[in-house]
């Protein structure tokens, strides 16, 4: 559009708008920079310096300490396994269900959709779900972190909307060429749906990486704890402030730099994948969510 004369009011507006947004961005990220900065400092510096963002006395002692035992390796291993395996598992079943339900000629489609949407509005709650997990034999197995959350209804609906927006002629012509429904899905639909697939995979991966509640509900065995549970042990419980301190151990509280380093280790993997997938989810996620 043709640029008109910019009024003074508009300029003031712009100034404040840009200023506030920049401030917002900085404030959002500052706590995390503080944590990363402190994790690379010596404990003495953390104790003495008041406004620590970047350490002057660089040290990787905290990381050496947390990686000196195999506890964190084991927890990271569990988290990686659950994240990679769980994402593949969830994507397989979410894609199959979403594609099936995107087919408009499917008899009973509305009823099945309603049945799935209803689970977003009402559920059995923690105890009945726990009993089902128990009765299906998943307690204390890593499968308990995956199987009970196989399909996230929101994610499935986003995928379904994406598939529904693909041109219908695509399937018809493949059908005429003699392709069956599975080969249409895997050879034709999926390759052109990469933005949506990447977005939903990211959502699942983040959820699995961050899994915490299900681990404390379903896993009694400390060897199977993912990194988030370990983080809570090291930071929250060791501060002696948690309400339910039954798992509190008598080891002396770790140094503050160790806590900082553990936070970083529990967060970095997610932050590493984020920039690669960001360009997808800006477009991909929305296709589904806006149109509902």
């Amino acid at each position: 559009m043709a640029k008109q004369r910019i009024s003074a009011g508009s300029k003031v507006f712009d100034f404040f708008n840009y200023f506030l947004l920049a401030l917002l961005g900085i404030i959002t990220i500052l706590p995390f920079i503080h944590v990363v900065g402190s994790s690379f400092a010596t404990s003495a510096e953390v104790a003495n310096t008041k406004f620590l963002l970047f350490p002057t006395d660089f040290s990787i002692k905290a990381y050496e300490y947390i990686f000196s035992t195999d506890t964190i390796f084991r927890a990271l291993g569990v988290s990686i396994l659950v994240t990679v395996g769980g994402t593949l598992w969830s994507m397989l079943f979410s894609t199959l269900t979403a594609y099936g339900l995107s087919r408009r000629d499917l008899v009973g489609r509305r009823a099945i959709n309603f049945m799935i949407v209803f689970t977003l509005l009402f559920n059995g709650g923690m105890i009945p779900t726990f009993l089902v997990v128990q009765q299906t034999g998943l307690l204390n197995s890593l499968w308990a972190l995956v199987i009970p959350v196989t399909i996230n209804a929101f994610n499935m609906i986003i995928l379904r909307s994406f598939f529904m927006n693909l041109p219908a002629g695509l399937e018809e012509s493949a059908k005429i060429d003699g392709a069956n429904d599975f080969s249409i899905l895997f050879r034709i639909v999926l390759p052109i749906s990469l933005p949506a697939i990447a977005t939903i995979s990211l959502f699942y991966a983040v959820t699995y990486w961050n899994t915490y509640m299900h681990a404390i509900l379903y896993l009694a065995d400390a060897d199977k704890w993912p990194v988030q549970v370990l983080l809570r042990q090291i930071v929250v419980l060791a501060s002696g402030m948690n309400y339910d301190a039954e798992t509190y151990t008598d080891v002396p509280p770790p140094e503050v730099t160790v806590k900082m380093a553990t936070i970083v280790v529990a967060t970095v993997p997610v932050l590493l994948v984020y920039p690669f997938l960001q360009k997808y989810f800006a477009k991909g996620a929305l296709l589904g969510s806006v149109k509902g």
Partner: protein
């Protein structure tokens, strides 16, 4: 005459038959599709609908070794106990207060940020801010709460260090019940406000630019354009999200509150979810805590239905 009615009847029968065989044909043609969605349906039946069936233990004196079939029925005993306990009303109040904070303080923030981002003309700046404010959404509650802990703690936390330098008293944020609610909602804002803008920004991009053009011609400044064009244009999305949020009424997030909860702030921090966990899984009162959860879920569902009805009353689309 008779023959015609007969044929009409027969015709109707024929049509019905054809329709049925048409449906049958469509089902048969899509048998592979049914095969595809079968695992998904089985998943929802087992892990979503079976727990709903399991709610009946709230009317029983459930004993794990007896199972749902063998346990004794007690009617509304657990619900009665629930409504009579003072604990219940404390938890109810805490849950409502946190819900109110979510609706009245958190909910408008992503909308305001979206409106601000929409006024940015330099796309690199816009994208930069978005990238930064989305990040916390990807961190777990454990990470968010942990970061708060190390920053807010009395010994060496940076926030108290700053307070001290500025000549204020140190504040024990973590063990003080007055600070629980502000801390809770600030963490929610920090984690979700940026992410929440995505949907509003998408709705804004759908607004017809000619409307702004016309408004400018009429001499509307940028605030008035925002007020008279952008906000009405995204009103629908705002209402849908508000209904969904209200439906989440008691769904404040077990993880977040549980991590912040301690014996000093329990009187303001204990909510339905954390109570269910402690009473049910730690103290083994399965039936009683299921009744608590059932009550919570029932209220939530009623709230969505009510909010949706209200939206339709005001000529909005609603969610169903």
């Amino acid at each position: 005459m008779e023959t015609t009615t007969l044929t009409a009847k027969e015709n109707a029968k024929q049509v019905k038959k054809m329709k049925r065989s048409e449906t049958w044909r469509r089902i048969k043609r899509n048998k592979m599709i049914y095969l595809m969605i079968l695992p998904g349906i089985i998943y929802f039946l087992i892990y979503k609908y079976l727990p709903m069936y399991g709610l009946i233990i709230s009317f029983q004196d459930y004993k794990p070794y007896k199972g749902i079939m063998g346990s004794e029925w007690v009617g509304f005993e657990h619900f009665q106990r629930l409504f009579e306990s003072t604990e219940f009303w404390m938890i109810f109040k805490n849950t409502l207060v946190l819900f109110g904070l979510q609706i009245f303080i958190f909910f408008p923030i992503p909308i305001i940020i979206s409106l601000m981002l929409n006024e940015v003309r330099h796309s690199f700046f816009k994208r930069g801010v978005q990238t930064l404010i989305y990040i916390p959404h990807f961190m777990s509650w454990v990470v968010i709460v942990s970061i708060s802990y190390v920053m807010l703690t009395l010994d060496g936390g940076i926030v108290n260090a700053i307070l001290e330098t500025l000549g204020f008293e140190k504040i024990n944020f973590l063990l003080n019940e007055d600070w629980f609610r502000p801390m809770y909602i600030l963490q929610v804002i920090w984690r979700e406000a940026g992410w929440g803008t995505i949907i509003f920004l998408a709705a804004i991009t759908a607004v017809d630019p000619q409307l702004y053009e016309a408004a400018r011609m009429d001499g509307a400044n940028r605030f008035r354009q925002m007020w008279h064009i952008t906000i009405p244009a995204i009103r629908n999305v705002i209402i849908v999200l508000l209904i969904l949020k209200i439906g989440d009424v008691l769904e404040l997030g077990f993880e977040h509150v549980y991590l912040l909860l301690n014996s000093s702030n329990r009187s303001v921090a204990e909510i339905f979810d954390t109570y269910v966990y402690v009473a049910g899984l730690q103290q083994g009162q399965f039936s009683y805590s299921t009744a608590v959860g059932f009550f919570k879920g029932g209220v939530g569902l009623a709230m969505v239905v009510f909010a949706n009805w209200l939206a339709q009353k005001f000529d909005e689309e609603g969610i169903y």
